[in-house]
Symmetry: C2
Subunit: 377 residues, 2 copies
């Protein structure tokens, strides 16, 4: 058995049943890819698998598929390869889909691009959201993506219009790494309006699909594609999502796979943020900037800093100083006794605070009394 | 001892030490208000309390204060009254302030207005936020307030510009109940630009303060006032708050008192929402509409409904129907065998779904094949 025969078997199996197909994956695990391909080709498999492979088992374009990908600078990655990523499907906990075929690792992945998939998956964030993004959503997607890409986080998304596109573009614009997981073959650049963007991703990042070349994107493929976006990423960040949104399915996969689900809040008046708010109410992590995402997926010690706070003139003063200061009229001076009554403090307790406030430049003496400083320091 | 003497004693004690004053409250609990007032007046109290009451103990304007309030349609509410609300300070759990005087119930409350404070406190929500609210913040404050007021929830706030004002106004506009808790005497209508608004609240709702008449609002009084806003309300909703905001202190009080803290998300690009997002990251409940607040404070069974979902043409279809539908070209017909290959299904499994799709008006026959319906039902 040559490596070529083995690779051809993987390629054949990747097309013969609509991916993901648990029966094919199980058969390969038991007998290896070459024997599995032979049995499927001869129809010598259990009835359920025979039915799932009936339509395509006589179609063998493995050699052509591999050649086409090689020609475009691509390759087929399988569990045989060092590059095969750890995708956590074995610990999947989404009870409702665990026993469905989609609840499984992909059989093999077709890719185009220079990045190594296993390295990508070690430090990646998915940035996803609605195709009908608002200007706000595209802006925030771009900011988060650029901020993470600058910190060597790979941005994973689905190549779609709206949030996905803004995330990919911002990563490319900062010379960062980005991966588009497609719902059809990696040679089928969909949507057409993103073909130039996807070409750029294929040249400097990675295009990934579990579907063989030529397969058209279809609704069910978008949903199964979403699980790979989630599985390749340490966290999934939903930037904008309507009440019905594929981003919610990506988030559900992320949660099931033990990845962190993050969502960006937006105006409660915006239909494009309704899905994000629903996720946040269900326990997703609220994130507002790249730091906060990094904290979730980053190496130990990468903690989000505090947002900058403006300094206020009364910062650092004690309770009594603040009380005395607040008791002073703005435009005239009053005596310490009057200050004591106004502040509700004993007369003996106002002189110390007045001295401190004078040093701080906040109060000044006038006519034997005290007033607020006309121009505070 | 007459009721009048007792009321005068409460009024005297409410002014003699800056509220809240744990030492006065403790003394009243031990010996009653009349005896407590006598001892304070004579200076026969423990040194700490003597010091706190030194500046004002000879100032007795209880009779004038009570007369002034009566003249304005107000009253002094004390633990003697049925109207005294349960404020949960005894179960306060904010460790950092539990032992400070502010961590205590107010001694007495001065109010103007027709509402009964105990009834208000049984079904109230605080709607608070920055004075520097954006148009978005004022809009959302108004929507939440109106929605809650229509469901007989009393809106509690601080009477300030921005979020507070929008919340009060919307409650009044729907003929709802609203309460303003002031940081000075209930006869000192602050800020001046809200004096008409506060007058209206005093006529149909309630103005509340723990400070006696004539006391000017001051910085420390705003902070202690915030604890009463939180204590009177089943939930505190922060609509917009900058990184330094009194609303954060109200939220901290609410949490310490075992009330629910809610925050409204906003654009992550808006400085006026930074405080809300910080609260949400710290565990506050995200709310987007009145229903969701009602769910938190409402009577049993008042659960937020699901937001409306638009219907989609493929709703209710099974996996195979969707796969078959997606496999069809939009502009020409293909045979069931071709459909089987495109959908990755056995040929025998496409006829059933095609029949279902035809009934649903989504596909049509043409030239012995099938295509998507030209005008879906």
């Amino acid at each position: 058995m040559t490596d070529t025969a083995r690779t051809h078997a993987w390629a054949y199996l990747s097309r013969v049943a609509e991916a993901p197909c648990a029966a094919v994956t199980d058969l390969v695990r038991r007998v290896g890819p070459v024997e599995a391909a032979d049995r499927v080709r001869r129809g010598e498999v259990e009835p359920a698998l025979a039915q799932r492979t009936e339509a395509r088992r006589e179609v063998d374009c493995a050699a052509a598929d591999l050649e086409l990908l090689r020609h475009r600078g691509g390759r087929l990655i399988t569990p045989d390869d060092e590059e095969w990523p750890g995708l956590a499907f074995t610990c999947f906990s989404g009870a409702d889909v665990r026993d469905k075929p989609e609840g499984r690792a992909p059989l093999a992945l077709w890719v185009i691009g220079p990045l190594r998939l296993d390295e990508v998956a070690q430090r990646a964030a998915a940035i996803v959201g609605t195709r009908a993004a608002t200007a706000y959503g595209e802006h925030v997607a771009g900011e988060l993506s650029a901020g993470l890409a600058e910190r060597e986080v790979t941005i994973v998304s689905g190549g779609a219009y709206g949030v996905d596109g803004a995330a990919h573009r911002a990563a490319l614009a900062t010379d960062g790494m980005t991966v588009a997981v497609l719902a059809g073959g990696v040679d089928v650049l969909y949507p057409a309006g993103h073909s130039a963007l996807l070409h750029r991703i294929g040249r400097s990042g990675l295009l990934v699909s579990e579907y063989p070349p030529g397969v058209r994107p279809a609704r069910h493929r978008f949903l199964t594609r979403n699980r790979l976006v989630a599985a390749l990423s340490g966290a999934t960040v939903v930037v904008e999502a309507g009440i019905r949104s594929g981003a919610a399915s990506t988030a559900a996969w992320a949660r099931g796979l033990g990845r962190v689900v993050c969502a960006v809040p937006g105006p409660v008046t915006s239909a494009a943020s309704v899905g994000c708010h629903a996720l946040l109410r269900a326990g997703a992590e609220l994130v507002t900037r790249a730091d906060e995402v990094l904290e979730v997926i980053g190496r130990a010690g990468e903690l989000a800093g505090e947002p900058a706070r403006p300094a206020a003139p009364l910062d650092g003063l004690g309770d009594n100083e603040i009380r005395v200061y607040e008791a002073l009229p703005a435009r005239r001076a009053i005596t310490p006794d009057e200050i004591a009554v106004a502040a509700g403090l004993p007369a003996a307790s106002v002189l110390g605070p007045l001295a401190m406030l004078e040093i701080a430049g906040l109060v000044e003496r006038q006519d034997g009394g005290w007033r607020m400083a006309r121009r505070p320091a």
